[in-house]
Amino acid sequence: MQVRGKVARKFGDDINTDYIIPAYLLQESWDKQFFADHAFEYYDPTFKSACRASKESVVVAANNFGCGSSREQAVYAIKYNNVVAVVAQSFPDIFYRNCLNNGLLPIQVADTSSIQEGDELLLDLQIRNLRNLSRDIEYPIEASDAAIEQMKRGGFLGYVRERLRQKLMEAPS
């Protein structure tokens, strides 16, 4: 599976989910697009327009992207602004899992310092490689087999439905 995208925004270390979507909004809608419309509202007001400028955008960061609160709305806020992948040097678990569950690709590579805004990236999950087409640099993707599998499937839902079906069949009626 290959995914292509343009780097719309590059961040440093420790971008927390409060920055991605402020708390006061979380309870005000059950619609995922609502959170995209308020993405980075305080922290980076031009994030939205930068990501929306391209049909397939990529967000790049250094270490610990998505730390702090478990709010999954942070993933909606990024994804529904045309973002296909977040490339960073590390992700805390909760955010990483929330990405996998929503088909936003969390791509971990050793060093993102050579990637700049505007670069064209090509992701190949099959060979676990990220290619910076603008600079002709390659970065191996670090991920478990299970994570790669979920990235390809766009989440777990099909699997969970199957588990539930099995459990209901086994349960006494």
Binding site: Q27, E28, S70, V75, D93, R97, Y159, V160
Partner: protein, 438 residues
């Protein structure tokens, strides 16, 4: 080779021995709780994504086990908007229909009541839709936050998928805390040493004589803040102190622990394997504050005297009995500085009522504080004390990110309840020790 408490808890759940690093296909959880921020969308998604599976199986739509699920509306209650009220109503209706526990607004902050009520027990795997679920680690439970989708999946099957058994970092804490220094100071100090990403993907396991002699309130505080160094969760091996607390907690519920619940209790082996050991000398820790805008930006109070115009004593980090007690001791017979808005929110109804019966709320109110009913309050940045641009707040909560409590142009400092009380009196970050007597 021995096992960590984390490995043991996962091993019991699976009925086979696991070691850190292993990826578990399906991990059954013991307890699951939701706040009113994520509960409503998780219920709606559960109904949308699984209705047809139940129907095709000829079964009624049912959560995996109603006795293992609880709803705790706590973030902005009493409700502060129509949408919040609608969400709480949706949770209440669903809870009734499914026969599961729904707490009332004002019963308390989820992480405080989950342990206080004996809902989560030592040795269990507990998950909730909030990152501070790690607070339950103080009981010796393996507890961590999840997102909305995992919440919805868990409602259906009670399982967490593709779970990596985490490695552990052992924090070996020695030395007595000095007078006027509290577990909050200790953990802010630890965050300062480790940085915001310092414990990423790993469990922070606290051991050593300082932890052994620490009361439960302090253990909850330490586990609570460990997620600020991105720990997968935090955990403390259960001991007599834990069991005394748990015994009292379950009295109101079932009376006592069942043999199964007792058998679940685990402790790390002496030869367990850790990815890292960090030695901490607690006796060298001073009263500590974290400066804007990072919980890891820790400094001794003696080096800071910035002006402050709001003080918040509350949150799941620090608003338990001993926290209110020490604040009352400092505030007694004194008046809050005229420039300071002091907001005090006991972490649960039980704490609130206890503090009222003991005259503690009286003392705090007489000093000039605003006392609100139990909920997250300003920590969540949505009601009960929103910061304006330029405001400077000292909070006993756990996050001082830019914009966390209102305006992104406000400044948030984190500190202990004692620092909060002293700061409220002086209108600037203050050392509590002069108020504590000998």
């Amino acid at each position: 080779m021995g096992s960590t408490i984390t490995e043991k808890i996962v091993s019991r759940a699976l009925g086979r021995k696991v070691v850190a690093g292993e990826v578990v296909t399906a991990l059954p959880v013991d307890k699951l709780y939701f706040n009113e921020v994520i509960g409503p969308p998780a219920i709606l998604n559960f109904q949308k994504d699984f209705a047809d599976v139940f129907e095709q199986s000829g079964k009624k739509m049912k959560v995996f086990d109603p006795s293992r699920v609880a709803f705790m509306p706590d973030h902005t209650v009493p409700s502060c908007s129509i949408m919040v009220s609608s969400g709480i109503k949706l949770m209440g209706d669903f809870a009734k229909q499914q026969g599961l526990m729904m707490y009332k607004e004002g019963d308390g902050i989820e992480h405080t009541i989950a342990s206080e009520d004996g809902f989560v027990l030592p040795g269990e795997i507990a998950v909730a839709t909030d990152s501070h679920t790690c607070t339950q680690g103080a009981l010796g439970a393996l507890a961590f936050g999840i997102g909305t989708t995992e919440g919805e999946n868990l409602l259906a099957t009670g399982e967490l998928y593709s779970f990596t058994v985490p490695e552990s970092v052992r924090f070996n804490v020695k030395g007595a805390l000095q007078r006027g220094v509290y577990p909050k100071d200790l953990v802010l100090h630890v965050l300062g040493r480790m940085g915001e990403g310092g414990c990423s993907k790993r469990v922070a396991e606290y051991t050593g004589p300082t932890i052994d002699s620490m009361a439960m309130d302090g253990r909850f505080t330490i586990c609570n803040l460990s997620v600020e160094m991105s720990a997968r969760t935090a955990i403390i091996n259960p001991d007599e102190t834990t069991m005394e607390y748990v015994t009292a907690a379950v009295q109101g519920r079932s009376g006592s622990l069942s043999p199964d619940e007792k058998a679940a209790i685990a402790r790390s082996d002496p030869d367990a394997v850790y990815s890292q050991t960090v030695d901490i000398d607690a006796s060298a820790v001073e009263p500590t504050v974290s400066l804007p805008h990072s919980p890891a930006n820790a400094k001794p109070v003696s080096q800071v005297s910035d002006p402050i115009n709001m003080v918040f004593l509350g949150s799941c980090a620090n608003a338990r009995r001993s926290d209110l007690e020490v604040a009352a001791k400092i505030l007694k017979g004194r008046k809050v500085h005229r420039d300071v808005n002091l907001i005090v929110i006991p972490a649960s109804r039980k704490v609130y009522n206890w503090a009222m019966a003991n005259g503690i709320l009286n003392t705090i109110a007489e000093s000039g504080a605003n006392i609100e009913s139990s909920n997250c309050g300003p920590c969540f940045g949505k009601h009960m004390g929103i910061l304006a641009p330029g405001d400077r707040c000292l909070s006993t909560s756990n996050r001082n990110y830019k914009g966390r409590m209102g305006s992104p142009e406000a400044f948030i400092y984190l500190g202990s309840p004692a620092v909060a009380a002293a700061t409220a009196l002086e209108g600037r970050i203050a050392d509590p020790r002069p108020y504590l007597g000998e």
